[in-house]
């Protein structure tokens, strides 16, 4: 399997505060990869670095074989088309309706006639499980779960091969979170996506994540499948998976 995202020896610092101390990991094609860790462990920062919103102090990140540090404008545009991002709070444009939010990149870049774009948009909106009438609503009129779905539809608008999700299930009720997990799984199989998700939802980790990396102490403490990670003896992992909530989950398994 090909490696889609490779992070090698990344160091990130905010002023005095060292966030990543030589972090390395790799995401393979077709898998759902979880980035885990407590609050402030730099998961979201690492994600931001992968999608070119932030530059690491040193080290390399390559996506689809392109090193993010020296990209031409053309390559950057190509990469941005190949990935979709779901931000934690949705980040839908509040002045546009859901349909316009989904359509905006297609309108801007594809040159397709409006009627075809409309068809694509309606399809994507259904695909993420939103009702048809949601298309004409504004983000302020949506519930939390609908915002996530609408934002996922926008991320999928241009058929990305790689999907970045920043805490996709945070702020959703357990039923909504489970439905969203199932949706991601279905979409992955249907669209042959590679998914990188930042999460600390133990349920998501148990049910949909194929491989994961646990960040802590400014490093990657463990990387691999859940079973491999569970065998690590690092205190952060013990706490995470064998704490009150984790124990409950480990006992029941998948």
């Amino acid at each position: 399997m090909n490696t889609v995202v490779r992070v090698s020896d990344v160091v990130t610092r905010f002023g005095e505060n060292l966030v990543h101390d030589h972090v390395s990991l790799s995401v393979k094609e077709g898998e759902i990869y979880g980035l885990m860790g407590g609050s402030g462990s730099g998961k979201s920062t690492l994600l931001r670095e992968m999608i070119m919103l932030q530059k690491p102090e040193s080290g390399h990140i390559s996506v689809f074989g392109h090193d993010l540090q020296n990209l031409s404008r053309r390559q950057a545009a190509w990469l941005r088309q190949k990935w979709g991002v779901l931000f934690q709070a949705g980040a839908l444009y509040s002045s546009l309706t859901v349909a316009e939010n989904v359509a905006i990149t297609l309108k801007e870049y594809s040159g397709l006639p409006a009627s075809v774009i409309d068809e694509i948009v309606r399809m994507k909106i259904r695909m993420v499980g939103l009702p048809d009438h949601a298309a004409s609503l504004y983000p302020a009129q949506l519930s939390g779960g609908m915002v996530k779905r609408a934002s996922l539809a926008r991320a999928l608008a241009r058929d990305p091969r790689l999907l970045f999700l920043d805490e996709p299930t945070s702020g959703l009720d357990p039923i909504g979170a489970e439905a969203f997990d199932t949706l991601i799984l279905e979409l992955r199989d249907m669209l042959q996506l590679t998914v990188v998700m930042v999460t600390h939802d133990l349920d998501s980790i148990w049910t949909i994540v194929d491989r994961l990396a646990v960040l802590g102490d400014r490093k990657v403490i463990a990387e691999g499948s859940l079973q491999q990670v569970l065998h690590e003896q690092h205190p952060v992992i013990r706490k995470f998976f064998y704490g009150e909530r984790g124990r409950l989950r480990s006992r029941h398994g998948k």
């Binding site: 040159g111 397709l112 006639p113 009627s115 068809e119 994507k124 259904r126 983000p139 302020a140 249907m190």
Partner: protein, 381 residues
């Protein structure tokens, strides 16, 4: 890479049993626009034909491309053609099934009925109703504010004095540089305008009267109030609006901290204290500005200017200007806070209400100033 872009498209071949359309090349996302144009050119005029569309030579077909393809297949069928799509790979067949599973019918929006006149009336009516509703909510805001104020007058130790001092620094002290600059320039402008006219009559010295009275009575209060409305009124709207979006206001309410006591009154009182002081400051700077021009342009020496100033500038003019301060301040701060509370859930409304708040505040300040002029003239002050 360049070659593929040119090579994506379709070829049409006439055969004995109908027309064969053969797709070729890489139908990637960035060539779809061109492809749509080619479909339109080559397929729009086909009527009642038997077609066979072969896409076995097409690679890189994504869901957008498939939707485009299906869109034109539907169009051809609507034109009475019989179309057979052949050469789909396994992935492409899956893609097609998926798209057909999720295809949603177009929602046809019914166009609004009625003439232009009708819609004009509707808009006018809606605007009036909205303005009425605005007024009612402003009055209820005022009522809440006064009830909290009365409570605080009885129990003054509950007032947030620290917040008032902080707001005075923010709205007053930090605005001094910009007030200095604008009022100095106003003094300069008045002096120049007066100088040209007065020189014609050799009445140079009257420029002092003109500067002293116009600056202290009208210009300094007005300019200072406008600067404060733009600077402080807008920031109050934005601050309170953001607090509303992040639910800080709700949090305060459930903890029993009335937003009026903690947010509104400290701001209103702070501006009411700061603005008169700033007006006095602007008076001085404005007159100095005029003095500089009078000296340079009209050859009125410093001592001559000051001597004349002492004779013509009655203290009442200064007091009138300063007395307007609290009124202007109250309008600016109340409107700023009120509009902040009107911000609703989305971020866009912060921008809208901030604009509205500044426009309202400046209008109200000028209207209030006009009212003062009428009243003072009637009273003969």
């Amino acid at each position: 890479m360049k070659g593929d872009e040119l090579q994506a498209g379709i070829k049409t071949l006439r055969q004995e049993d109908g027309l064969l359309i053969r797709g070729y090349g890489e139908w990637r996302a960035d060539v779809l626009g061109k492809l749509a144009g080619e479909f339109e050119r080559k397929l729009a005029r086909l009527r009642n034909e038997k077609l066979s569309w072969d896409i076995s030579a097409v690679s890189g077909l994504d869901s957008s491309g498939m939707v485009l393809l299906l869109h034109y297949l539907d169009m051809l069928e609507a034109q009475g053609c019989q179309v057979a799509l052949t050469g789909l790979g396994q992935d492409q067949r899956k893609l097609r099934e998926m798209i057909e599973a999720y295809a949603a019918p177009a929602v046809t929006a019914t166009p609004p009925r009625g003439s232009r006149l009708y819609s004009l009336l509707v808009h006018a009516g809606e605007a009036v109703v909205a303005a009425g509703r605005d007024l009612v909510s402003f009055l209820s805001f005022l009522g809440e504010n006064f009830s909290v104020l009365l409570l605080l007058l009885v129990q003054p130790w509950k007032m947030r004095w620290g917040a008032i001092v902080k707001n005075i620094e923010e709205a007053g002290v930090r605005a001094l540089p910009i007030i200095t600059l604008t009022s100095f320039l106003i003094g300069v402008v008045i002096a120049y305008q007066g100088a040209v006219q007065l020189q014609k009559f050799g009445a140079n010295i009257f420029v002092v009267d003109m500067i002293a009275i116009s600056v202290t009575r009208e210009l300094a209060p007005l300019i200072t109030a406008i600067v404060v409305a733009g600077r402080t009124g807008s920031s109050y709207t934005a601050q309170i609006g953001v607090m509303k979006i992040t639910q800080e206001i709700d949090a305060m309410r459930i903890m029993g901290f009335e937003p009026h006591r903690f947010l509104v009154l400290p701001r209103v009182i702070a501006v009411m204290i700061a603005l008169p002081l700033m007006i006095f400051f602007a008076d001085i700077i404005g007159i100095v500005g005029g003095m500089v021009v009078a000296n340079v342009h009209l050859n009125i020496s410093w001592s001559e200017f000051v001597h004349r100033l002492q004779n013509v500038l009655e203290v009442k003019h200064v007091w009138i200007g300063i007395a307007k301060g609290p009124f202007f301040a109250w309008l600016i701060a109340m409107v700023g806070c009120f509009r902040g509370f009107q911000v609703s859930r989305n971020t866009e409304s912060i921008g809208r209400y901030t604009t509205v708040s500044v426009v309202n505040a400046i209008f109200l300040v000028i209207a209030c100033d006009a009212l003062f002029s009428v009243v003072f003239t009637r009273l003969g002050i």
